[in-house]
């Protein structure tokens, strides 16, 4: 405790610092809470407010899957299982299995990185709770399908054009090794813009 001077210094410091601390906490009584009232009291679904790059549950657009197995090879925990068969005559690839074990998936994004068409991609969906591990396996193929093959001709298939555009936008987000991308990446197409712009009533810092 020491001298009377330190005694009173302690008292004064305590009073002054508690006074200031109380002022700070009182000032928070008149500020808007930061809470997002997930899931029900939100103007838009929270999934729609997440950024485009958000790594949620994996989805596969089989229509544009080329069956190249790049994702299967890239997955560090082997949670993707793909079975393909090459038809020697038609030179087509038939995919007979495309399973993803979401219980095992760690959402690292290494599978969607090498995908040439953006067929395998992360969605902004994240609500994966379920009652059994079995139900977390996503089986994308019931009957074997023929893999997509980029046509040499300039015209892409009309049926998959939209999917391809979306897929390629997704692929473009990734840094391409060695490519000299402009410092500000090109504006995202209108379809994805809504997902990028924050619509939540979140107090955006600095506003």
């Amino acid at each position: 405790m020491g001298t009377p001077a330190t005694y009173f210094r302690h008292l004064r410091e305590a009073v002054v610092s508690i006074f200031d601390g109380m002022a700070v906490s009182a000032s928070h009584l008149i500020r808007r809470p930061y809470t997002i009232q997930y899931p029900d009291r939100m103007p838009v679904r929270v999934q729609d407010t997440l950024p485009f790059r958000y790594r949620g549950i994996l989805d596969v657009d089989l229509e544009i899957c080329t069956g190249c197995l790049a994702c299967d090879r890239a997955c560090p925990i082997d949670c993707i299982a793909i079975a393909i068969e090459k038809n020697a005559a038609t030179r087509e690839i038939v995919i007979s299995q495309f399973d993803i074990d979401l219980a095992k998936c760690m959402y690292c994004g290494l599978c969607s990185e090498p995908c040439p068409t953006g067929a395998i991609h992360h969605t902004t969906e994240f609500e994966g709770a379920d009652f059994s591990l079995e139900s977390l396996i996503r089986r994308f193929i019931a009957d074997p399908v023929v893999a997509y093959k980029a046509k040499k001709a300039a015209e892409p298939d009309v049926a998959v054009a939209d999917l391809l555009t979306r897929g390629m936008t997704y692929v473009d987000e990734w840094a391409q090794p060695g490519s000299d991308k402009p410092s500000a990446p090109p504006a995202v197409p209108a379809a994805t813009k809504a997902a990028v712009a924050p619509v939540v009533p979140v107090p955006v810092p600095g506003k």
Binding site: A14, G21, R53, C108, A175, Q176, P177, V202, G206
Partner: protein, 372 residues
């Protein structure tokens, strides 16, 4: 008083205890409120990450490095990338390095915010904790926009980063930094300079400089003891040479040098220094590619290297041995928390039970980093 017969009591603290950050366990021998000794028992979060590295290959190990220290995963990402690049001689593009530094410094702020907030919670003030987490959420939002994840980022790749900065992100990041500084002052007024806080933290478990070096304390814990050492400045890696920043040092102005208050304030001061680095990095970032050309089947030449990265928990040493195949032969991570945890048994002698909580929080030990 010497005739008063007292009995020693053995207490079990953890692994499920509110303030043992994660799953630490201590066996405490106490005499009333005063501890004789706290014996740490670690390993409850051991996930054999070093063994996993030997099985998944160089590229595939990147997401696992997130789990080494999930509070500041950017640094483990960066260290792993640097180790692989050093082994194979890959040059990272400058913009890639800047992206790395920006992401890592944001992560440092997030991690330090968590630490100072947890300090608040551990000494009984919930409000600073929630305020710090609120700020951390804002950073997480930014990082989420950058790399799509909030905790296990997996942002970096061998040879650069996986994503360039999204459009408009730079302005948001700069705006956030503007927002951060008044919040730090407010946080100080609310908590750091509170008399009770100072009384609780000052003079608790002071560590002298020689002792800190001997026990291999790193990062803010080491600097709190007055050792002027920061890997970012003294063994500059990445592009830290380009920035002008200060290394805060513990001065013992609240009591003894290297006490809990010094260690705590070190984090508060590094918040503003990180913001300073970030501001420079965001202003100076050059154009160009962010990822070097690295083959998918990454096979560095046989050899070994050690890289040191200044993570939020201090100098993180990655020792990687390659045998020339596509799987690393051996990966060893020497983390700051591991060394700090090894010191707790010695520091705990003569402290009170309430001080043990302060000691753990001030050393900023994180269970996954100890156990790996």
């Amino acid at each position: 008083m010497s005739t008063l017969r007292t009995e020693e009591m053995t207490l079990n603290m953890g692994p499920q205890h509110p303030s043992t950050h994660g799953v630490l366990r201590f066996v405490i021998r106490t005499d009333g409120e005063v501890m004789r000794e706290a014996i740490p028992d670690v390993g409850y979060l051991h996930r054999s990450i070093e063994k996993i590295a030997e099985k998944v290959g160089y590229h595939g190990f990147m997401p696992y490095t997130d789990r080494v220290d999930y509070v500041c995963a950017m640094f483990t990402n960066q260290a792993w990338g640097m180790a692989c690049e050093k082994l194979a001689g890959v040059e990272v593009p400058r913009r890639g390095e800047y992206c790395r530094v920006i992401a890592a410094e944001f992560n440092r702020i997030a991690s330090h915010l968590l630490t100072v907030g947890l300090m608040g919670m551990d000494i009984g003030a919930m409000t600073p904790f929630v305020h710090a987490l609120r700020e951390r959420e804002m950073i997480n939002d930014l990082i989420e926009e950058l790399c799509g994840a909030r905790l296990t980022f997996n942002y970096m790749r061998i040879g650069g980063v996986a994503w360039d900065l999204p459009p408009g992100w730079r302005d948001k990041a700069l705006a956030y930094l503007e927002h951060l500084e008044p919040i730090v002052n407010e946080f100080n007024a609310l908590f750091s300079y509170n008399k009770i806080c100072i009384e609780r933290l000052a003079k608790v478990a002071a560590i002298g400089p020689a002792e800190a070096i001997d026990y291999n304390l790193v990062g803010p814990n080491l600097r709190a003891s007055g050792v002027n050492w920061d890997v970012r400045r003294d063994l500059p890696y990445s592009v830290y040479r380009d920035f002008d920043f200060e290394i805060p040092l513990g001065s013992g102005e609240w009591g003894a040098i290297g006490d809990a208050m010094d260690r705590y304030m070190m984090r508060i001061r590094e918040l503003t220094q990180s913001a300073r680095i970030l501001r420079q990095a965001l202003m100076q970032i050059p154009d160009g590619p962010v990822l070097a050309k690295v083959v998918r089947n990454f096979k560095p030449a046989a050899g070994e290297c050690q890289v040191r990265v200044e993570s939020a928990r201090g100098d993180q040493g990655w020792y990687v041995v390659s045998d020339g195949t596509s799987y690393p032969w051996r990966v060893h991570v020497r983390t700051g928390s591991f060394a700090a945890m090894g010191m707790i048994q010695k520091l705990s002698r003569g402290l009170m039970i309430a001080d043990l909580v302060v000691l753990i929080a001030s050393l900023d030990v994180i269970a996954p980093e100890i156990d790996r």
